[in-house]
Symmetry: C2
């Protein structure tokens, strides 16, 4: 076996729901270099430190690069194609930011789906983090294999909400209408659910409560409100 | 950031069902050393080669160490506690088998659940692989953090069969009784399902067909047979 030293990094795929659209949090990357002038986007990620475990590294890196705290991150998959860090622009950027000669890079990927109700742009000395429409992802060429990682993360989340519906409720206001819930569901799954079937299905979810309240200040027939009661789950 | 070189390895958790019990496939490990005389067990695992991706490394390593081929392996989690390879017996074994000074070792873990219908013991020049009762795992102190990895793998499998019931059917003969299916389910989940409720739940699984056949050559009232039709899923 030849001796080689793979590096281990963390990448975080953070999806956000702003009440309307699904977004993804990306970092701007710039290399000022005569040969490779570069400005593109990447997932928030970095190399692990020697003395931290993977979960703690993910929390640290996400906070360093985006300012986000107290996010529940799920490790969903590691990516280790031998070629994944071999593009010249990625190699250069790695060497400049880490000051290391990195051959192969295996990355452990984490994912979270959060409610966007905070500052949309984060700027520090070294990074700018910003929310982008998820639909625009297919037109962007992200750094490394980050397009693939984001795609796999979305599959993971779509699968998760099928059997852990409460993941959905956490993205909505405390009290919400069935239409809000359906829009959220259809946005994430890129489906167009039938109104009646969807309602029937959701009313079977343990913990979902029909309230004796309707939405206020709406110019049409006020729809009923629902609430998710965690304790009942 | 201090310069350090983590190694990346693969570990495979292979659960097998022999028609009665759930088993786990382990490798025997021996170090002949005056100071640390050692014989214990570990998951089949090894260090990745420079030019192979993670999935291919998992397939190669499993085959090298256990002779198993054509197994569908799911990557389920990576383990990277900084202390996970720091026990003296583990450090020594690593150095002897890899001929490398390894500081930190991050491992990407894979899991599979298979039907045991082949040779139970695999022996090559360097390894012996053997099936052990899963129930005896709690009494064994496996190498590295392999007890933890096996426990997490079992959680992953238990979760998976809740929403992908077909995983279960693949462990049974082509035609099976409801009792066989329930025993399998209860063995994996360590539950004791109610006979009627279980049958009701299973009959809702798409693809499960009630046959017009009963089990033959049984000394009591012959139970009905069922079949899982993949195409109908």
């Amino acid at each position: 076996m030849s001796v080689f030293y793979p590096y281990v990094s963390i990448d975080c795929v953070i999806f956000g729901f702003d009440g309307e659209k699904l977004k993804i949090l990306l970092i701007e990357r710039t290399i000022n270099n005569a040969e490779i002038g570069l400005s593109d986007k990447k997932l928030p990620g970095s190399i692990i430190f020697e003395d931290e475990n993977l979960d703690n590294a993910a929390i640290r890196i996400l906070n360093d690069l985006t300012g986000l705290k107290n996010i529940y991150l799920s490790q969903f998959r590691s990516f280790g194609d031998p070629e994944r860090a071999n593009k010249p622009r990625d190699k250069q950027w790695l060497e400049r930011t880490t000051q290391l000669k990195i051959g192969r890079l295996v990355t452990v990927a984490y994912v979270a789906l959060i409610k966007i109700n905070r500052k949309i742009i984060f700027q520090s000395e070294n990074t700018t983090a910003r929310w982008y429409d998820l639909t625009s992802l297919s037109e962007m060429q992200l750094a490394f294999d980050h397009n693939q990682i984001a795609t796999e993360a979305l599959k993971f989340i779509r699968n998760k909400i099928q059997y852990e519906s409460h993941t959905l409720f956490e993205l909505l206001p405390n009290k919400f209408t069935m239409t809000q819930l359906r829009n959220l569901y259809d946005t994430i799954l890129e489906t167009k659910s039938d109104v009646r079937n969807f309602q029937k299905k959701m009313l079977q979810v343990e913990g979902l409560e029909k309230l004796d309240e309707v939405q206020k200040n709406v110019p049409y027939r006020a729809p009923r409100l629902y609430r998710y009661n965690k304790k009942k789950k």
